[in-house]
C-alpha cells in the first residue's frame, strides 16, 4: 500500500541558509529573478510563481532578549486541501495517495480559485501563462524513491522526510525533548481544520504559531466549502465556457482525488 509522505520542519534547527529555496528552484527549473531591497534578509517579500519556498526572517525583542526567527513557508500538502475543493478545472489539482497535492499545469485554467481556497495563501498565479504554481513536494523525485530537493539540501537536519506515522512520532519526540529543555510550550503544528498537513512543524512555542508566520487555526473558507457538491459544477459551468471538454471530463470521472497506481 502507498504510504503518506511527510516533510517535517524542525524550526529550532533552521539557520536561514536558504539552501531549500534554491534547491527547489534549481530542481524544478524555475527561473531566478532579481529582487528589490525589502529591508530584511528575506529573498522575496512573498512566494511567487517561480518561488515556491520562502524562508521568512522575523526579528523580535522579548523579555528573553533578541530573537531572529527563521521559518520556512510553502505548500502544506493538506489532508483536506482547500485548493482542490475550490478548483473547477478537472485534473488541474490532484491529491495523490501518498498525500502530495500537486498542480498539473496542462489542466490549469488560471481561474485562481485555488488561491482563494488555500488557508495558507500559497498558490501563485503567473499572469503571462495564466497558470497557478506551487510546491509539488518534488513529486517526480518522490515517485522514484528520492526525497524532495529541499529536504536533501538542508544541512542542519531542520528538514526531514518520511512516512507520516513515523514522522509524527519523530516530531512529538522532538517536541518532548524541547519541553524537557525548558520550552514548556513546545509542540507540533499539524492543524486539524485542514485535515492535518503533510508538512509538519516542530515549534518551540506551539501556542504562538503566528510568530512563525503560521495561522493558528487554519480552515477552508466557508464559500469554498459550499462550492463543493452541486454548487461546484454549476459554478464551473458558469466559469468555464471554453473549457467545456474539461467539464464533461469531470462529469465522467467524478472527484479528482487521484488514486495512485499501486506498486
Amino acid at each position: 500500500m502507498t504510504q503518506t509522505v511527510v516533510k517535517l520542519i524542525d524550526t529550532t534547527l533552521c539557520i536561514g541558509c536558504k539552501a531549500c529555496e534554491v534547491a527547489c528552484q534549481e530542481w524544478n527549473d524555475q527561473e531566478f529573478t532579481l529582487g528589490t531591497f525589502g529591508g530584511t534578509y528575506q529573498t522575496m517579500p512573498d512566494l511567487a510563481p517561480n518561488f515556491w519556498n520562502l524562508i521568512k526572517f522575523n526579528e523580535r525583542e522579548t523579555d528573553g532578549g533578541l530573537s531572529w526567527l527563521m521559518s520556512k513557508y510553502q505548500c502544506m500538502h493538506c489532508g483536506d486541501p482547500g485548493c482542490l475543493r475550490a478548483c473547477p478545472a478537472p485534473g488541474a489539482i490532484v491529491q495523490a495517495k501518498n498525500g502530495i497535492v500537486d498542480f498539473v499545469s496542462d489542466h490549469c485554467i488560471g481561474c485562481g480559485y485555488c488561491i482563494t481556497g488555500c488557508p495558507f495563501d500559497v498558490p501563485r498565479l503567473l499572469p503571462e501563462s495564466k497558470k497557478v504554481y506551487k510546491c509539488t513536494l518534488c513529486s517526480d523525485r518522490v515517485a522514484v524513491g528520492l526525497e524532495p530537493a529541499c529536504i536533501k539540501s538542508c544541512p542542519t537536519n531542520c528538514l526531514t522526510f518520511g512516512e507520516r506515522t513515523e514522522m509524527l512520532r519523530v516530531a512529538e519526540t522532538r517536541a518532548g525533548v524541547l519541553k524537557q529543555d525548558g520550552h514548556a510550550q513546545a509542540g507540533v503544528y499539524n492543524p486539524v481544520g485542514v485535515g492535518g498537513t503533510n508538512v509538519l512543524y516542530v515549534l518551540k512555542d506551539a501556542s504562538d504559531p503566528a510568530a512563525y508566520g503560521l495561522p493558528a487555526d487554519p480552515t477552508i473558507p466557508l464559500s469554498v466549502r459550499l462550492w463543493k457538491g452541486p454548487v461546484k459544477w454549476l459554478g464551473t459551468m458558469l466559469f468555464a465556457g471554453g473549457v467545456l471538454g474539461s467539464f464533461f471530463h469531470y462529469l465522467k470521472f467524478g472527484p479528482k482525488e487521484e488514486e495512485a497506481p499501486e506498486e
Partner: protein, 793 residues
C-alpha cells in the same frame, strides 16, 4: 583546523568567535547542530553582530570588533584564578613549567626589548633559560616565579571581568556566563572546540588572537582531543592546499624560502633545522634536510646533485629584511617598481584593502595577465571610472591607463580533476567529465604553454639568467598539458632507487635518492594508488575520523596533536573519547601524532616542536610571547590598558600613495565587513541563483543610530572612511547592539562585501573603505574594525 568538521560533533562546548559558520560554512555547521542534538552541547557565539549563528546559539555575547584578545585574556585570567584549568594536562603537555630568562616582563604596552627608534623588539629576554646541557630548564611544580605559568598568571591578572566589559562592551554578567560555559571544558572528560574564521584573522593583531585561543584550549586540555582543537574555517575551497604549497616567503610544505645570507644549502639547513630544547623532544622538524632535498629533487630532477647542492643556487633568495607580501608589493606597484602581474583566479581590486590604492597600482603596471572564469574588477580595472566613477573618482580614464591586459578563459572546478584540501586538511580528489566552454582551457594547459613559451624564447634568444628557468623540470608526458595525476604523483613522491612511489614522508631522504614536491602530502599517492579519491565509509573509532575516506595531511592523521589526548603514561583523559590507544606495542586508532611504536613516555607529546610540548609562551611571534590586547589601528577609543600604546606596535601600517588613517572625531563608528550566506566572495554575483537571494547591496545600521540620524530601512545612506565611500539602502536592525565602552556608546556599521562594478548585480566594493593596515605575523589586512562615518543621502 587541528581537528575537522566531522569532529565538531564530539564537542561539549562550541565557542564560535571570529566566525559565523551558520552563514559562511552552513554545511560544516551541521556538526554543531549534531553536537547539540546528540550531546546537548552548548553553543556560545561571541560576535559584534547578532548573526544567523547567534540566532541558534545557547548564548550570544556581543563584543566590540577588535577586542577579542581582551575577551580571551579574560578567560585565561578566570581559568587560572579560579583553578578551572586542566592542571595535569597543562603540566605534562605545555611549556607552563619552562623558565624564561631573567629580565623578561611587560609594562605600559610593551614587552621588554622594545626599541622605540627602530620600532622593533630585541627578543633576547623572551627566551628560555637553558641549563648547561643546552636544554631548557623546567619547574614541574609550576611555582617558579619565572616559569611560563606564573608569568602568564601575572600577565593576565589585569584582564578582570570588569576590564573585559569595559573594553569589549558586553556586560560583566554576559562575560561571566560565557566564561562559565566555556570553562566547563577544563574537566578531563569534557571537550570544547573553537571555530573561527576571518573575524579573527583580519585584525592587526590576528596571529596573537589565534595564539590566545590556543592558550585557552591548552588550559582546558582541549588540544589533541576529539571535540577540541583550534579550528580555522577556511574561506576558499583550496586555500589550505594553496597555503600548503607556499607563500611569499615559503616553499611547499612550510619550508622557508632562503634569505640572501644563507648562501649554501648547508647554511640554509643549519639555520632552518631546529635543535631539540628538551631531551625527550622528538623535534620532527629535525628532518628538514630530507624534506628540502626531496623538494629540490622534484624541482630540478637529475640536474640536482650532491655536487651542486641539489640546485639550491637556482632558488631565489630573499634580501634580508625584504618583504614581498601583498602589503608591500602593492605599495611597490604604486611606486612603479613592478612591471607585471600574473593573477590566477584572484581579484585584488575587489579583495585588497583600499580599492583606490589597488586601482592606482594596477594602472602603473606595464602588463597584466588574468586567468579567470568570469571577467572580474581586476581584469577590467581600467573601466572603473566609466562604470562607477561615483566610488572611484581618482581612477584614471581608460585612455590614460597604459596597462596591457590579457584575460584568459580558464576552466572551473567541474572541468578539472585534482585535489582540493578542505578545512579538515582532507585532500579530496575530483573527477571530471566536462570540457571547458568554448575556447576556454584547463589551467594546467594555460600555465604550461606559457611557461614553455617563455623558455623557448630564452632558448632562442638567450637573456638574463636562463639557468634557473631551464633547470626547473617540466618533463611531464604531455608537457603542454600535464595530467594532474602525474603531477600529484610527483608531489606525493617516489624513491629513485626503486622507482616506486613512497608510502609517506618517513621514507624521504636527504641524499638525493627521493623526490617529493610537498613533504606533508607525501603518501597521498603511494604505490597502491590515489588515496585522495577514496570513499571508504568505515569509522572504527566512532569519532567521525573516517580513515579511508579521502586522505588527510599529514600521514592521513585526522586529529593533530592527538598524542595529547592521553597523559604521559598513556592513559586517555577521557576513556569515552580516545582517538588513540597504546596497546603495549603500538598505537591504535587515529594515525598517531607520535612515533607509531614508541612507548607513551618516550617522547614529549608535541613531536613537531623542539620543546616537545605546546607553547603557552611563544617567542617566535613578533609583538610578544603572550597575546596582549591592542586596539585596531583605527579605533573609537583609547586602549584602556595602556593608552599610550593603543594599537599593535609591530603592525604594518602602510603609508604610501593613497593611504590615510582616520580618527574618531571625523569617523565615529566602527565599520565591519563580512560575507552573507547567500553569496560566495566576489564570484556569485555572476550566478543567477545567488544574485536573486541577495540582489542588492545594503548597509546594516543599528536601530538606535538610525533613530538618531532619522534613517529608516530602505533610505539611502553614505558610509565614508578616510579612504573612500560606499552608498546603499540602510537595513535598520536590532541585531547590532550599541555597546557601552568606557562609559560611551559605540555603534557598529555592518557592510556585506559581495558586490562590485562587474557582474550580474552591481554595488560598491567595501574595500573602498578599508585601510592598508596589516597583521605583522601573517600580513592579513584589518577588515574588521575600521572607522567610518554614516549619513543619510
Amino acid at each position: 583546523m587541528t581537528n575537522g568538521w566531522t569532529d565538531v560533533a564530539n564537542a561539549d562546548v562550541i565557542l564560535v568567535m571570529g566566525g559565523n559558520p551558520a552563514e559562511n560554512h552552513p554545511v560544516g555547521f551541521r556538526f554543531v547542530m549534531e553536537a547539540r542534538l546528540k550531546r546537548k552541547a552548548k553553543l556560545v557565539c561571541v560576535d559584534p553582530r547578532f548573526t544567523r549563528t547567534a540566532a541558534v546559539a545557547d548564548l550570544y555575547v556581543p563584543i566590540r570588533s577588535g577586542t577579542d584578545i581582551a575577551f580571551l585574556g579574560g578567560l585565561i585570567h578566570r581559568a587560572v584564578s579560579t583553578g578551572k584549568y586542566q592542571a595535569d594536562y597543562v603540566r605534562q603537555h605545555t611549556n607552563a613549567g619552562f623558565l624564561i630568562q631573567e629580565g623578561f616582563g611587560f609594562a605600559d604596552g610593551h614587552f621588554t626589548g622594545w626599541n622605540a627608534e627602530k620600532k622593533s623588539y630585541d627578543k633576547s629576554t623572551w627566551q628560555y633559560e637553558l641549563g648547561p646541557d643546552g636544554f631548557a630548564k623546567v619547574d614541574p611544580s609550576l611555582e617558579h616565579p619565572r616559569c611560563v605559568f606564573q608569568l602568564m598568571r601575572q600577565h593576565y591578572a589585569r584582564y578582570t571581568a570588569e576590564k573585559v566589559s569595559d573594553i569589549c562592551g558586553c556586560t560583566v554578567a554576559e562575560f561571566e556566563r560565557a566564561a562559565d560555559e566555556i570553562l566547563v571544558a577544563h574537566a578531563a572528560n569534557k571537550s570544547g572546540t573553537v571555530l573561527y574564521a576571518l573575524g579573527w584573522t583580519q585584525h592587526s593583531h590576528a596571529v596573537q588572537l589565534i595564539h590566545a585561543a590556543a592558550m585557552v584550549q591548552l588550559l582546558m586540555g582541549n588540544i589533541g582531543m576529539p571535540g577540541g582543537g583550534v579550528n580555522a574555517q577556511r574561506g576558499h575551497a583550496n586555500i589550505q592546499g594553496s597555503t600548503d604549497m607556499g607563500a611569499w616567503n615559503m616553499l611547499p610544505g612550510y619550508l622557508k624560502i632562503p634569505r640572501a645570507n644563507l648562501t649554501s644549502l648547508d647554511e640554509y639547513l643549519h639555520a632552518n633545522t631546529p635543535k631539540a630544547l628538551r631531551p625527550d623532544a622528538m623535534n620532527y622538524w629535525g628532518n628538514t634536510p630530507k624534506f628540502m632535498v626531496s623538494l629540490l629533487k622534484a624541482y630540478y630532477g637529475a640536474d640536482a646533485t650532491a655536487g651542486n647542492q641539489f640546485g639550491y643556487q637556482w632558488l631565489p633568495k630573499i634580501a634580508e629584511g625584504a618583504n614581498h607580501s601583498w602589503a608591500y608589493f602593492f605599495d611597490h606597484m604604486t611606486e612603479g617598481k613592478i612591471d607585471g602581474l600574473i593573477s590566477w583566479g584572484m581579484n585584488p581590486v575587489a579583495n585588497g584593502p583600499n580599492t583606490k590604492k589597488m586601482l592606482m597600482g594596477l594602472a602603473k603596471l606595464k602588463w597584466m595577465i588574468v586567468a579567470e572564469v568570469f571577467e572580474t574588477e581586476t581584469a577590467g580595472f581600467w573601466k572603473a571610472k566609466e562604470l562607477a566613477e561615483k566610488y572611484y573618482p581618482q581612477a584614471g580614464d581608460a585612455a590614460s591607463i597604459q596597462t596591457e591586459v590579457f584575460l584568459l578563459p580558464a576552466s572551473c572546478f567541474a572541468e578539472k580533476d585534482g585535489a582540493f584540501v578542505n578545512s579538515s586538511r582532507w585532500l579530496q580528489w575530483k573527477e571530471t567529465n566536462l570540457e571547458p566552454p568554448g575556447d576556454a582551457k584547463r589551467d594546467q594547459e594555460i600555465m604550461s604553454r606559457l611557461f614553455l613559451k617563455i623558455r623557448e624564447l630564452y632558448e632562442k634568444e638567450g637573456g638574463t639568467a636562463p639557468e634557473p628557468l631551464r633547470m626547473m623540470k617540466w618533463d611531464y608526458a604531455t608537457p603542454y598539458a600535464p595530467s594532474l595525476t602525474e603531477v600529484t604523483r610527483e608531489v606525493s613522491g617516489r624513491d629513485l632507487s626503486t622507482g616506486k612511489q613512497v608510502s609517506g614522508f618517513g621514507e624521504l631522504k636527504d641524499d638525493g635518492s627521493t623526490v617529493s614536491g610537498c613533504w606533508i602530502y607525501s603518501g597521498s599517492y603511494p604505490e597502491s594508488g590515489n588515496l585522495m579519491a577514496r570513499k571508504g565509509q568505515d569509522d572504527p573509532t566512532g569519532l567521525g575520523l573516517f580513515p579511508n575516506y579521502s586522505w588527510s595531511w599529514p600521514a592521513n592523521r585526522r586529529i593533530l596533536y592527538n598524542r595529547a589526548s592521553l597523559d604521559t603514561a598513556g592513559k586517555p583523559w577521557d576513556e569515552t573519547r580516545a582517538p588513540l590507544r597504546w596497546d603495549g606495542l603500538r598505537w591504535k586508532g587515529d594515525v598517531p601524532d607520535y612515533k607509531a611504536d614508541a612507548k607513551p613516555s618516550q617522547y614529549g607529546s608535541f613531536v613537531m616542536l623542539p620543546e616537545g610540548v605546546a607553547r603557552l609562551f611563544a617567542p617566535e611571534l613578533v609583538e610578544g610571547p603572550f597575546p596582549e590586547h591592542y586596539e585596531p589601528a583605527e579605533s573609537p577609543v583609547e586602549n584602556a590598558l595602556h593608552p599610550e600604546v593603543s594599537f599593535n606596535p609591530m603592525a604594518w601600517v602602510i603609508q604610501g600613495a593613497g593611504d590615510q588613517l582616520g580618527v574618531a572625531k571625523d569617523y565615529p563608528y566602527v565599520g565591519i565587513s563580512y560575507r552573507l550566506t547567500e553569496h560566495f566572495h566576489y564570484w556569485t554575483k555572476n550566478t543567477a541563483a545567488s544574485a536573486q537571494l541577495q540582489s542588492n547591496f545594503f548597509v546594516e545600521v543599528p536601530e538606535a543610530l538610525a533613530k538618531e540620524k532619522n534613517i529608516a530601512s530602505g533610505d539611502i545612506v553614505r558610509v565614508t572612511s578616510a579612504r573612500g565611500k560606499v552608498e546603499g539602502p540602510a537595513l535598520v536592525t536590532k541585531r547590532l547592539r550599541p555597546l557601552k565602552i568606557s562609559g560611551r556608546t559605540v555603534y557598529h556599521v555592518g557592510l556585506p562585501i559581495h558586490w562590485g562594478f562587474i557582474g550580474r548585480i552591481h554595488g560598491p566594493l567595501i574595500n573602498n573603505l578599508t585601510a592598508s593596515v596589516y597583521d605583522p605575523n601573517s600580513g592579513t589586512p584589518e577588515y574588521k574594525g575600521f572607522l567610518v562615518n554614516l549619513e543619510k543621502v
